[in-house]
Structure formats: structure tokens, C-alpha cells
Symmetry: C2
Subunit: 199 residues, 2 copies
């Protein structure tokens, strides 16, 4: 997605060799006009998947997910993060390990908001090691709902999340795919490479 | 706001004598179409206030705030909650006490995203005891920014938050104002009462 890549090049900050800071338009300060375009793009990419619900994790996933829900005209559910979980009878829960923070969080959603009739589109801001997505897929399985696809705003292809998902044969779309940070600069997977990979 | 009041009557759950659960359209499962209308309504109510930024707190404030930002065409910043705060040089921080959870959280925003030129609209899902709003006002003061107004989705007028804000002469708009829960039912402040109060 050209406007997203341009925005990453303009406003993203590369920290070390594997961190991209985009807190001025995506996950602290948020650009709602860009989020609206992201929602429309996910709709274009998944419009044949009969989506009934969009699922994400608080907090950074909410903005892109909510505009995706708007574009599809369906509800959005955000899983909540907890240090520990009580009231397990009412909740689907999973555990998400954060490589960045080196801690585990429980994520949970109320059983009332996901069921076997749902075709779920998972939306998240980043795909790196795939732990958040893995936790959400676990919850979708517990609810006997169907995973219809995964929409990622920014993917880091050099970390292992994408591999983990591709193994499962899931329909994944990432709006910006970063293959490396070189000398503090972002290098995107270009279209040719993407086509080669799809062959 | 009629569609919001109707939705509260239809889908809200009253718990005890002071809690309204709206987790099926506002703060866990979210209705993006309703959020879009809420954003437009805040724009209508504050359109003369020369808003440059919308400020809220994660996570439940994000959905209504992001559509308000869209309606104004301005960025949205969400304060992050932390148990403790490090890196204080880079952050404006405040402490928010939760009467429901009986715990204190720090809230923080990066100094890069708020400055003396900003005219800030604070948006939040609930106004009850006013502690979150108080923390956000504290942060706006620290940044020498101007507080242009406060937009609340659901206000409980029988708790002390509104009084606390009114004392300061701030422009506040609440889209649904609840004066009591009677026999498990929501009772709104009706328009006559609102006009009387304004006299």
C-alpha cells in the first residue's frame, strides 16, 4: 500500500536492527485518515471472505481494526490483555509471549462475542514473531468460529511470524512488508520479490 | 443523542446501583457504525473550537476518539496506562485512580505529541468520578496546550465527575446522560431537566 509505505519512510524511526517505531501515526499518535484508508484496503482484499466479525488485541490494533469493521459493516471485538485471568467460565483466553518485553500476557474475550457462525478477520498493527496472532487464532478455535483471514498493517518478513501462519494455509495480507533495516533505513519487499514468493 | 440512548436501553446491562455494562457495543465488542455517528456528533458540538488534536486514554476511549479525529481531520493521541513510568524526561505523566478497581495507574503520553500550539478535545467513553479526565487535563496543562473541550459518550450525572469539571468552566458535552438506575433500568436526564440546569 503506497501511502502507508511512504508514511513509514517519512515518519518511521528505525531502532537497532529489528525495531520500527511508528508511534506518530499508528500506535500512540494515530492518523485517522490513514486508518480509514487501511480499513478500505482490507475490505478490498478480503471482500469475498464473508466476514462477520473483526478481531484484534488492545490497544494498537483497535484503530486499524475499527475502520476495517466499518468498511465491512460488522462488529469489532478487541481482546483484552491481563496479567492473570479470573472468571474463566465466561471467557476465551490464551497466552501471548512478547519477545520485545520478554513477558507473557493473557488475552481474553467474552464468550458472548464469538461463536461457531462467525467468519473472523483478524487485524493487527504488526506481524513480527506472530505471537499475538497465534493467541487470537487459539481463541477463534476455542469458539469453533472460522478464521477467514489475517490483515496486518506492517509485517517484518525477517521475523518468524509469517512462516508460522503460512504453514497453516491462512489467507494473509500485509499492507507493508519490510524485509530488512539497512543502515537505519527501511527496505520493503518489492513487488517482483512478492510475485516470486507466490510462485 | 437518540440512537445512543436507544442502544443503551436495548443493549446496556445495569449491574448493582451504579454500573452500566456496555461491552457489546462500546468497550469490548465495538459497533463501528455507531462510533462513526458519535464522531460526527462531537464534531457538530465542538466545530467552532478550532480543535487541533483529540486526546483519550487506552483502550475504551480509542474507538470514539478516532472517529472524532476523523471528523475534525486531526490526529488522535491515546495516553498509555502503566503500573509505573520510566523515561520520565520524554513523557508527560499523571496518576489516575480507579474507584471501580481501587487501584492507581499512571497515564503517559510522549512529549512529542502535545505542545503549546495545540487546542485539545478530550474524548472518553465514560464520565463517572472524572479521574481519567482529570489526569488528561493535568497532562494538557503540563504541555502548556489549551483544553478546548471534553466530549463524553456516557455520563453518570449522579457521580462526582461532572461537578469537578463544571467548576473549571470547561465546555463539556455528553451524548447520553444517566441520572439513575431504577429497578435495573436506565433513567436518562431528560431534555427539560437539562434546560433547567443550564438556566
Amino acid at each position: 500500500m503506497k501511502i502507508l509505505e511512504d508514511r513509514i519512510l517519512r515518519d518511521g524511526q528505525v531502532l537497532g536492527h529489528d525495531v520500527l517505531k511508528v508511534d506518530n501515526f499508528l500506535n500512540h499518535q494515530v492518523d485517522p485518515m490513514l486508518m480509514e484508508e487501511i480499513g478500505k484496503e482490507f475490505h478490498r482484499l478480503f471482500k469475498n471472505e464473508k466476514i462477520t466479525k473483526v478481531l484484534t488485541v488492545e490497544s494498537s490494533g483497535i484503530a486499524p481494526a475499527i475502520f476495517t469493521g466499518l468498511a465491512f459493516g460488522v462488529p469489532v471485538v478487541f481482546a483484552r490483555k491481563h496479567k492473570s485471568v479470573t472468571l474463566k467460565d465466561e471467557l476465551y483466553t490464551s497466552v501471548v509471549y512478547s519477545y520485545t518485553k520478554k513477558t507473557s500476557n493473557h488475552i481474553a474475550i467474552s464468550k458472548r462475542f464469538l461463536n461457531e457462525d462467525d467468519r473472523v478477520l483478524v487485524v493487527d498493527d504488526f506481524l513480527a514473531n506472530g505471537q499475538a496472532v497465534k493467541g487470537l487464532i487459539d481463541i477463534i478455535d476455542q469458539a469453533n468460529a472460522s478464521l477467514a483471514g489475517i490483515g496486518i498493517v506492517i509485517e517484518k518478513t525477517f521475523q518468524k511470524g509469517r512462516q508460522l501462519i503460512d504453514k497453516e494455509g491462512i489467507h494473509v495480507e500485509s499492507l507493508a512488508r519490510i524485509k530488512a533495516f539497512e543502515d537505519g533505513k527501511v527496505v520493503f519487499v518489492n513487488d517482483e520479490e512478492a510475485e516470486d514468493a507466490a510462485k
